[in-house]
């Protein structure tokens, strides 16, 4: 009897672990395509000042959202907006602080530098509205998938950065929009500070 128990322990347990080990690769989690890197000049909207160029590309197509995020972000109340910031200056560094990004909804007047516009009064700091949809993605998926979707969204998010001469950064901003109904125009204001300056300047986008 003791021999049988010992045999079961020494051979049965490893066999079970082997099965578990082989079982893992059989599970296929969600696949996320990388969003193709694009230059500011290739984006739908582009603004520049003092050698700093920003390109903005909203990703509204639901197939694209499924492909890059494995989630229908619009239905969850967000629109992913790809932004690329290029420092084309040969001498100046620029600071991009994501915490200062502002959004106004229903205030579009055409793209361009717009800091004196009345629409600025309606702008709200995006990070105060919601940092990102990372914590809000809850779907009818397996918990493991859900966590992978969240991690992918977080990794693709654009973050605060210092842009040395010739450098660039890119990523997504997740802007809050109404979950239902047609999307209202969005006014996006991105503050940039030239290294050494006290006050930032803004680049405005309306789409």
């Amino acid at each position: 009897m003791r021999r049988i128990v010992r045999g079961l322990i020494s051979s049965g347990l490893p066999c079970m672990l082997v099965l578990l080990s082989f079982g893992r690769p059989a599970y296929a989690g969600p696949k996320f395509a990388d969003y193709p890197q694009r230059k500011a000049s290739e984006c739908a909207f582009k603004e520049d000042k003092l050698g700093l160029v920003i390109g903005v590309q909203p990703v509204e197509d639901l197939n694209d959202q499924k492909n890059y995020f494995d989630s229908d972000l619009t239905k969850k109340g967000f629109i992913p907006v790809y932004i690329v910031i290029e420092n084309q200056s040969s001498a100046d560094g620029f600071l991009f602080d994501k915490a200062g990004v502002k959004i106004g909804v229903g205030t579009a007047n055409g793209s361009g530098p717009n800091t004196n516009s009345k629409s600025v009064e309606t702008l709200q700091v995006v990070s105060a509205l919601v940092i990102s949809p990372v914590g809000l993605i809850i779907g009818a998926k397996l918990a493991k998938d859900e966590a992978l979707v969240q991690t992918n969204i977080l990794k693709k998010e654009v973050q605060s950065k210092t842009l040395s001469p010739g450098s660039s950064t890119s990523g997504f901003l997740y802007l809050p929009v109404p979950k239902a109904g047609p999307r209202q125009p969005i006014h996006l204001m991105i503050p940039i500070t030239r290294s050494g300056d006290d006050e930032p300047f803004n680049l405005d986008f309306n789409f």
Binding site: G7, S10, S11, L13, P14, C15, L17, V18, L20, S21, G23, R24, Y27, G93, L95, F96, D97, K98, I131, S132, V134, G135, A143, K144, E146, A147, L148, Q150, T151, L154, K155, Q159, S160, K161, T162, S164, P165, T193, S195, G196, D198
Partner: protein, 195 residues
């Protein structure tokens, strides 16, 4: 060495199963890198609120602040000639660079079984100000840690471990980013040439 062929086979199988996990655990720990120290007297601002940072995500709490407060100062000492730890930026009286960390977010994958691995991603934003209080450098650094997540009994220990791996990775990457930054080198030069 083995009393029976069955025991030998069992040992070989166990090794086969756990070896990748052990390798993964070893890889999760950030390897030290060589950096050229910035010749700056730096003060890192770690207030009690930062040290107590707990980020809740998907019914889990990640106590990232505690580990960060233990790890950041000794790791930053690899990148600066002198580092002091202060509770507020006003306490950084003699500092030439005031370094302020802020947690941005965390995200963790989930596991399907006790022996599968898990990845934790932690984002930390750094703001560096000069003596006059002007921001000279801002950067977001991403640290990640991978580890197996064990079972219900080892969950707390494994969670602490993965947080520690991610925070250590974050700290090392932060020093590398500061060291490689032209703006930080400019601050070093300006400080050296100042009367």
């Amino acid at each position: 060495m083995f009393k029976s062929p069955v025991a030998a086979l069992a040992s070989a199988l166990m090794l086969l199963i756990f070896l990748p996990e052990l390798c993964l655990t070893a890889r999760s720990q950030a390897a030290p890198s060589t950096v050229q120290k910035l010749n700056l007297n730096a003060a890192v601002v770690v207030d009690p609120e930062f040290c107590a940072t707990k980020i809740k995500k998907n019914h889990e709490t990640f106590e990232v602040g505690k580990d960060a407060c233990e790890v950041l100062k000794p790791t930053l000492e690899e990148g600066f000639s002198r580092v002091t730890s202060v509770a507020t930026d006003k306490d950084a009286v003699d500092a030439q660079a005031i370094i302020m960390p802020r947690f941005v977010d965390v995200s963790a994958t989930k596991t399907m079984g006790a022996f599968s691995t898990r990845e934790l991603t932690v984002l930390l934003e750094w703001t560096v100000k000069n003596k006059s209080g002007r921001t000279g450098w801002i950067e977001t650094v991403q640290g990640s840690g991978k580890n197996h997540m064990g079972n219900a009994f080892s969950y707390k220990t494994d969670l602490k471990q993965i947080i520690n791996y991610a925070v250590r990775d974050l700290a090392h990457k932060s020093v590398i980013a500061m060291d490689a930054s032209p703006e930080m080198r400019k601050l070093e030069q300006r400080t050296a040439s100042a009367p």
